[in-house]
Amino acid sequence: MTPRSRILLALLGAFLLALPWVVNPYLLSVATLILYLAYTGQAWNVMMGFAGQLSLGHSLYVGVGAYVSAAIFFHYGIGPWAGMWLSIALCVAIGAAIGFLAFRFGISGVYFALLTIAFSEFFRIGFDHLQWTGGSGGLFLKVAQRDQIDLGNFRGPPAMYYYAILSLTVSALIFCSFLLKSKAGYYWLAIRENEEAAQALGINTFRWKMLAVVISSAMTAVAGVFFAFYYNNLFPEQIFHISRSIEIILGPIIGGVGTLFGPILGAAVLTILADGITEILGALGWEIPGIKQVFYGIVMLLVIMFLPHGIWPPLARKFGLGK
């Protein structure tokens, strides 16, 4: 890391830590959403950006992670600190099953992506009919007491959730930068660049791709737990929907697939611009449904045309920052 990026990182850290004290509740919710997308983007990036396995079904892990911990809290009063592990275990099992099917039988590229969509759709429809979690009618948690902090059950004011997702995002960033510098990182990038050559260098590509899927699904499961306890209501049609998966991957794609700061930058740029445009149009009296999606499409086109590696790499080069 260059000295300049260290200073910038410290400034950014101080800004993020102080945020709940200086902004209004709406902006805090936007910041929470940005960090949530940055975190899930980072998790997705382990699979696609590092190991080159395109998942278009990451909403599956968010959904299962969210539903599992919310349901056992709802039914048995078991808090998310315990429930989280069940969420992680289940998501890892599902991810491993998908990975095993795909990698064992040589399903790759677009077909792998289709398989991930199929699985997330399968779970969407399954949860629609699962009465234990309220079916398509949804699962609702009691809304948190805004002034009390109950860390044990992860109930509290918005600032608590903000700090929780901030620490998750920071931990994910540190964890991923560690991964990228380790043997696993080298192996994943080799598999991403050329799987045949990687295998010829003694890499058991099946095993390392499985590891990427397992890590990515476990990280995303934690995001699901956060989602459940922050938003308090879960609907299969919403949480498992493919638009959710796309929302997750837009950040890293805009920011820079395979980079460490790309997912964070991408999530911030997209959310701020999209919400900003909606706000401005709203203030002008134009309520246009779906304008956010149109805007996502335009940004995506522009980035693909002019910055095919995302926004972060050219920025990092220009200002002498790291990955």
Binding site: K183, N194, E196, L201, I203, T205
Partner: protein, 239 residues
């Protein structure tokens, strides 16, 4: 060290290799030559574990390897290069080699150290930090070799690494292989069209034609063999 015992391979009924047997003694350099489509690369791919032979055995240090996957073959001690180079284009030259280095070195610093040594041997150390995609073809071929060497193989399979190189570049890389063979005891099996390199390097030549071995022996003798001349130049006819 390597013993290929009557291996055959057909693709949709077309016999690519049939009943080929040859040995690569430890410490030797053996060349596999033959016209295009003779089955050389198919032989290589069977040895390297890309696909198993339909019949026959491949023994490496006396244990059968014909059913191992490519990564297991590499772990067993056989490194290979690809005829069509396959660099990890987005990674730096050094990182490319380090991927191979991790096979024997567990730490990042260890892998970096041996990778730099190997880059030095192949005269690529000044390009260590460049992206592999920026290299010229001769450099990419050397990178291919460096990466395979980083796995510390006992047998190195070279698939046409001299093709497309200028004679001076070719001589340079021949020198590198000679050195590796002499000082590190590296055994080499190479597929090669460039006879200049074959004559300079190989102690033994095996000639494949239409999937069958038609000649073998010392390079000087093989190039005078009528069967070999015939397959390369066509039959001699009285006019």
């Amino acid at each position: 060290m390597l013993s290929v015992d009557r291996i055959s391979k057909s693709f949709r009924g077309l016999k690519a290799v049939s009943q080929a047997s040859f040995d690569v003694p430890a410490g030797s350099i053996v060349a596999l030559i033959g016209p295009n489509g003779a089955g050389k690369t198919t032989c290589f791919n069977m040895i390297a574990g890309v696909f198993p032979p339909d019949s026959g055995r491949i023994l490496f240090q006396d244990s059968p390897i014909q059913h191992l996957r490519p990564d297991q073959v590499c772990v067993a001690g056989i490194g290979r290069t690809f005829q069509i180079v396959k660099p990890f284009a987005g990674l730096s030259v050094l990182d490319n080699v380090m991927v191979g280095g991790f096979l024997k070195e567990k730490t990042v610093s260890g892998a970096r150290k041996i990778s730099m040594e190997i880059l030095g041997k192949l005269h690529l150390e000044s390009k260590a930090d460049l992206p592999a995609s920026s290299l010229t073809l001769p450099d990419r071929k050397r990178l291919e070799v460096a990466r395979a060497l980083a796995t510390r193989p006992r047998l190195l399979l070279l698939d046409e690494v001299m093709a497309g190189l200028r004679p001076t570049e070719c001589d340079l890389i021949v020198q590198v292989f000679r050195e590796l063979n002499r000082s590190d005891g590296l055994t080499i099996l190479l597929i090669e069209h460039v006879m200049r390199a074959v004559m300079a390097l190989a102690q033994n030549v095996v000639v494949l034609h239409h999937g069958e071995i038609i000649a073998r022996g010392a390079p000087a003798a093989v190039v005078r063999d009528p069967a070999v001349l015939e397959c390369y130049l066509g039959e001699e006819t009285e006019v």
